[in-house]
């Protein structure tokens, strides 16, 4: 293939001379030397080695020896130059160790809501909850009826709920879900108890966007249904969650409340220290909860005499705003890099 041992040896000699004469007094010409002769890809000696297979069989051994000797020589020259450059104060003066390091990649980041959502779901995951999801677009039955909302409940009003144009003259039936609770219904319809699930997701309110309200936000829903589940189990789970999320010494309050789909219903408050507040802080509501209403169990075909269960739901933005002292909810959806870079 046009390659002969003679040509190879001639080239080797030329290179050998060049190696001898090489000026190796700065880090950059040492590096240039390395690349030129023994660079992994296109170093001259490396290239010569690649020619060996093309030589007649009987010459290959000689060629190998010649090239190996050349490589050794180049390596030895390089090594001594390296050593010299390290020990020689004159060469060191040419390196400026205070120059900034070379940044080859931008820094990425997860959105704070993703971070908060995963912090929440991770805690429940460790407690044995599985993750479930459902659609953001829902029908009236899953979002309201099956969850024991009466026919004339104010949440069904156009004012609060975002309905979808179905191009049909009837009552609007499709909406953007107002809470993650329909995931409870979908899961209980599709599978058999026991259930122990956590459902993170986006929910909608038909609201004008201001610093304190947005037309959508994120929630995490929890559901446990089995034989023998009690409110004591619920309280236990929530307290353990809150301590894992807010810290072991968090001050908690569990108070009665009302939701159509749970009974008894309760809200969990945490005491939030505010140095400027006259009382030194105040109670902040962080989640709603309760025992699954028997009407809900019946709606999904479960016998409330046999099964009991609990459900809970919490917003994600509010606690995040509390934790990071964010005063304007819109920041989450404006995606200003100066905001995103802080998480």
């Amino acid at each position: 293939m046009g390659t002969s041992l003679e040509r190879l040896i001639a080239t080797t000699e030329e290179l050998s001379t060049e190696i001898l004469r090489a000026q190796l007094d700065t880090p950059s010409n040492i590096e240039a030397f390395r690349i030129r002769f023994i660079g992994q890809k296109r170093g001259l000696i490396t290239q010569l080695f690649k020619q060996i297979p093309h030589l007649p069989k009987e010459d290959r051994r000689t060629a190998g020896q010649v090239l190996n000797a050349l490589r050794k020589k180049a390596q030895a020259t390089l090594d001594s130059a390296h050593q010299k450059s390290v020990s020689d104060p004159v060469n060191l003066s040419e390196i400026d160790l205070t120059l900034p390091g070379r940044k080859n990649q931008w820094t990425g980041s997860r959105h704070p809501i993703t971070l908060a959502l995963s912090r929440i779901t991770d805690i429940f995951h460790r407690m044995g909850f599985t993750i479930a999801e459902g659609p953001e677009m829902e029908d009236d039955w899953h979002n309201f009826t099956a969850l024991n909302f009466p026919e004339d409940h104010p949440a069904r009003d156009m004012q609060d709920t975002l309905f979808i144009d179905e191009k049909s003259p009837d009552q609007p039936r499709i909406m953007m879900r107002t809470h993650t609770s329909p995931v409870q219904i979908r899961t209980m319809m599709a599978e058999e108890p026991p259930f122990r699930l956590i459902a993170p997701g986006r929910v909608y309110r038909n609201e004008t966007i201001t610093y304190k309200s947005y037309c959508l936000f994120h929630q995490v829903e929890g559901l446990v249904v089995d034989e023998g589940i009690t409110m004591a189990d619920l309280k236990n789970t929530l307290y353990r969650f809150a301590r894992a999320f807010f810290g072991e010494d968090v001050k908690l309050r569990y108070r009665s409340s009302f939701f159509p789909f749970t009974e008894p219903s309760a809200e969990l408050d945490i005491w939030w220290n505010l140095p400027d507040h006259p009382d030194g802080g105040r109670w902040m509501e962080i989640l709603g909860s309760g025992m699954v209403h028997p009407n809900v169990l019946e709606a999904v075909g479960l016998d409330p005499e046999r099964y009991t269960g609990y459900a809970f739901g919490m917003g994600v933005e509010r606690p995040a705003m509390l934790r990071y002292d964010i005063k304007d909810i819109r920041l989450f959806y404006e995606n200003d890099v100066r905001f995103l870079a802080q998480f």
Binding site: G128, L162, C215, A232, R253, R255
Partner: protein
């Protein structure tokens, strides 16, 4: 809903401080949202006696009063009130005292008013914070002592004391709790003490009253009860201080003694009342009917309303006089000259009132209560209580009897409660006796009908209680959820759920993308309709229209996003406006559109997960030895292919297109088999300009739901043994026509190189004066390996085969 601490304490001696009361109510379900203290800051305000009154020599409206403050030296005070007169006992803010007027604190000083010395101030009620009355100075009764602190007098004579208002958040299930009685009842159960409500003798229906008013209900479905009582010969005037203070504590303004009493009784027992001027009721008839479309009515506040069909109208013999449950009319309003009063106490349908209130845009204390549902048995009591208070305060005479129209009395319901069920639900043991106590205090009249079975009669003020679980909730909230001890151990079934592949895959993508310098963004799912339509084909492989909303509050949120792209472009625009040079974003989110295909969730609509990745601007941070370089298509293509590789989607087919669309200059479509998976594109210059972006934008949008399906079909990964034998590298440089695409050449390489070819890189694409102008040179770096030592001959054979295939398929020639 506001309640007064002092007022509440009249019905139940709870023995709780304000802080304790706040806690007790909040924990049991009546959340105290706000506390407001009303101090009587009357230090230095004394009872004085006016000795004499002389006109001010230099001011027409002012008078010089000589006032005795009980210390033997009467002082001169300048007063502008028209009603000041000799011998009156009056409150005097003495020199050095402080008053809070209109939230401003004023210090009373010795002063000169138009040249005359004034040693203090004679006060009106509003200046003392007793009421909002500013008609004139407050005149005290003769039982006061000259020189005594006003505070002592007020407490002794008028029961007036500092008070605290608790503002409660009432949940929709508690229509009974929108009044002091309801809160008192909860409190009696919480503290296990008795409640004492005022004793009101309820007159029999009929009697003389029925001769003076004729009532007919034409719509008993929405007005199931209407009770009326008449009070004659009243004198309309200001209310006494105690009544004014009660109303002020719950945030109401005093109007006159008649209206004030109706408001007082409403806040006392929860029943809204209306007082008509009896003499303005035509033909002495009350007809309750539903409105017809387009009727008009002028309410008390002088506003004219056009009514919808089906609002409840209270009419006299001639015309409507009130919108039932919402507001009375101007035509029958009680005024200063009114002498005879007709008191209305009725039950209106909650749903109907709610709708009317919303349509009319009027929300009143009455509508707030009717919407929630008032007690259908409270009407006679409330009417008589009102009549008695009016008779007492306005000096009238109650016409004996009443008219009580209640055509279909609501039957009392009974609900059984299994004591054992309480434990089943709550997981704690509550003492049997305490359970019965709670139910008794709340009015459920519990009766043990069998071992462990309690039968309760549901009072009409608790329409929310229908089931056993409702009773359990009552027991739970009064017993206190705080008293549920946390178990140390639970009997939960042991489970360590497997992470879902979907979550693992997404997590992997997050790690990869953030590691590659992308920032995750969250954008609005709602877009202006025209934007949604414009971007509807960014990722879709169909022309299904986007999903519009029916009732969005603003045009900018009219339609659900069919693509994440517009949201990202807005985020890029925002950041570019703030001089951010590097825009590298990704977002996971749902997109929506109409669809005729079989729906996963909602018929006629499609919703699925999408991943969008986009870049614009500098590809890497500024370094001291590298040039600034703006990202191009291949930067994103590299990122995307690395991501797909990392997630093991290695069988996707890429289909390039050099045709510009409205959105893109050129793009690559990703397929799995024939299934559309996503696109990778350069955004069109026009759209880039529209969003004011300085550098070209490249984006890739993937149907994540479909990728997930592929992922789930991927065979589970096993380890491939690492070959102990060396790999061999070869470079191959060929010359082809300039127009020849490299992609197909790589495919050919891969195919022909089987099974030893391990990797292909393109390390150079060259055009220039070394080669003919219509040619380009492409250099491939090839890596071969196998489970044995490869021989040069076999690699040579493969290279030869590749060169032949290249020559055949692409007219390529080998460059030496």
């Amino acid at each position: 809903m506001k309640i007064s601490y002092n007022w509440l304490s009249e019905y139940v001696s709870h023995g709780l401080s304000i802080a304790e009361l706040t806690d007790a109510l909040t924990l049991s379900g009546l959340e105290v949202e706000h506390i407001e203290q009303h101090d009587l800051s009357l230090d230095g305000v004394l009872v004085g006696q006016v000795r004499s009154v002389h006109p001010h020599p230099d001011a027409d409206r002012l008078q010089l009063c000589n006032v005795d403050l009980g210390d033997g030296t009467p002082v001169q005070i300048v007063c502008g009130a028209p009603n000041v007169a000799p011998d009156q006992r009056v409150p005097v803010a003495t020199v050095g005292s402080r008053l809070t007027i209109n939230e401003k604190t004023i210090r009373i000083k010795k002063t000169k008013i138009r040249g005359q010395v004034s040693m203090g101030m004679i006060c009106a009620e509003d200046e003392l914070g007793i009421s909002e009355d500013h008609h004139g100075i407050m005149v005290l009764a003769g039982s006061s002592t000259i020189g005594e602190p006003l505070k002592e007098y007020l407490l002794r004579e008028q029961g007036l004391a500092a008070d605290t208002t608790l503002d409660l958040a009432i949940t929709p299930n508690r229509p009974d709790a929108v009044c002091h009685f309801g809160v008192a009842r909860d409190l009696s159960a919480l503290q296990n003490v008795q409640v004492t409500f005022p004793d009101v003798p309820i007159p029999p229906s009929g009697s003389e009253a029925s001769n003076h008013i004729d009532i007919s209900i034409q719509c008993p479905d929405v007005c199931s009860r209407y009770t009326a009582i008449i009070v004659r010969d009243v004198t309309v005037g200001p209310s006494p201080v105690w009544l004014k203070q009660r109303l002020e504590a719950v945030g109401l303004r005093s109007i006159n003694n008649i209206v004030d009493v109706t408001n007082f009784v409403m806040y006392e027992c929860g029943q809204p009342l209306h007082a008509f001027d009896y003499d303005r009721i035509a033909q002495k008839k009350i007809i309750v009917r539903e409105s017809a479309e387009g009727e008009t009515f002028v309410t008390l506040d002088r506003k004219q309303h056009i009514l919808e069909e089906g609002m409840i109208l209270i009419c006299d013999g001639k015309e409507p006089v009130a919108i039932g449950g919402i507001m009375g009319g101007q035509n029958s309003e009680v005024g200063n000259t009114t002498t005879n009063i007709l008191i209305e106490s009725a039950w209106f349908d909650p749903t109907r009132i709610r709708r009317s209130s919303k349509v009319l845009g009027i929300s009143t204390d009455a509508s707030y209560r009717f919407e929630r549902g008032v007690d259908p048995q409270r009407q006679p009591w409330a009417a008589m209580r009102t009549a008695m208070l009016i008779a007492e305060l306005a000096g009238g005479k109650i016409v004996p009897g009443m008219v009580d129209m209640y055509p279909t009395p609501k039957p009392l319901a009974t609900v059984d409660l299994r004591i054992s069920r309480i434990r089943t639900i709550l997981g704690i043991e509550i003492e049997h006796r305490r359970i019965l106590q709670i139910l008794e205090s709340l009015g459920f009249a519990p009766r043990e009908t069998a071992e462990g079975l309690v039968s309760c009669i549901i009072p009409t003020y608790r329409p929310d209680v229908n089931l056993e679980i409702d009773l359990i909730e009552e027991v739970a909230r009064i017993h206190g959820l705080e008293n549920i001890d946390l178990p140390e151990h639970t009997s939960l079934q042991l489970s360590a759920p497997r992470p879902r592949p979907a979550d693992l895959l997404r997590e992997h993508a997050h790690i990869h993308l953030t590691g590659h310098g992308f920032r995750e963004i969250y954008t609005n799912s709602l877009l202006p309709d025209e934007v949604a339509r414009q971007f509807s084909q960014a990722v879709l492989d169909s022309d299904d229209p986007p999903a519009r909303t029916l009732n969005a509050v603003s045009r900018s949120m009219a339609t659900l996003r069919p693509s994440l792209l517009p949201g990202m472009l807005m985020a890029m625009q925002r950041n570019a406006n703030h001089s951010q040079r590097v825009l590298r974003f990704y977002e996971f989110g749902h997109v929506f559109h109409h669809s005729k295909r079989a729906a996963a969730f909602i018929e006629n609509f499609s919703e699925y997960d999408v991943l969008l990745v986009g870049i614009s601007g500098a590809i890497r941070p500024t370094n001291w030895d590298q040039d600034h370089q703006v990202a191009d298509f291949f930067d994103l293509k590299g990122e995307v292919c690395q991501l797909l590789d990392a997630l093991q989607f290695n069988a996707l087919r890429m289909q390039p297109s050099y045709t510009a669309t409205e959105l893109t200059d050129y793009h690559i479509t990703f397929y799995s088999g024939r299934t559309h998976i996503g696109v990778l594109a350069k955004l069109s210059g026009a759209i880039q300009e529209f969003f004011d972006l300085p550098d070209p934008v490249f984006f890739a949008e993937f149907n994540w739901t479909r990728l997930l399906l592929l992922h789930e079909k991927n065979p589970s990964q096993t380890y491939t043994r690492i070959s102990p034998f060396p790999e061999m590298e070869r470079d191959l440089s060929v010359s082809v026509d300039k127009s020849q695409a490299v992609g197909p050449m790589i495919s050919t390489l891969r195919k022909v190189g089987q099974p030893l070819l391990r990797n292909v890189d393109v390390f150079d694409v060259y055009t220039g004066n070394q080669i003919p102008t219509d040619k380009k040179s492409i250099a491939f770096a090839l890596r071969f390996g196998g489970n044995r030592t490869l021989r040069d001959e076999e690699i040579d054979r493969i290279i030869n085969a590749i060169v032949n295939a290249f020559s055949e398929q692409f007219g390529a020639t080998l460059r030496s």
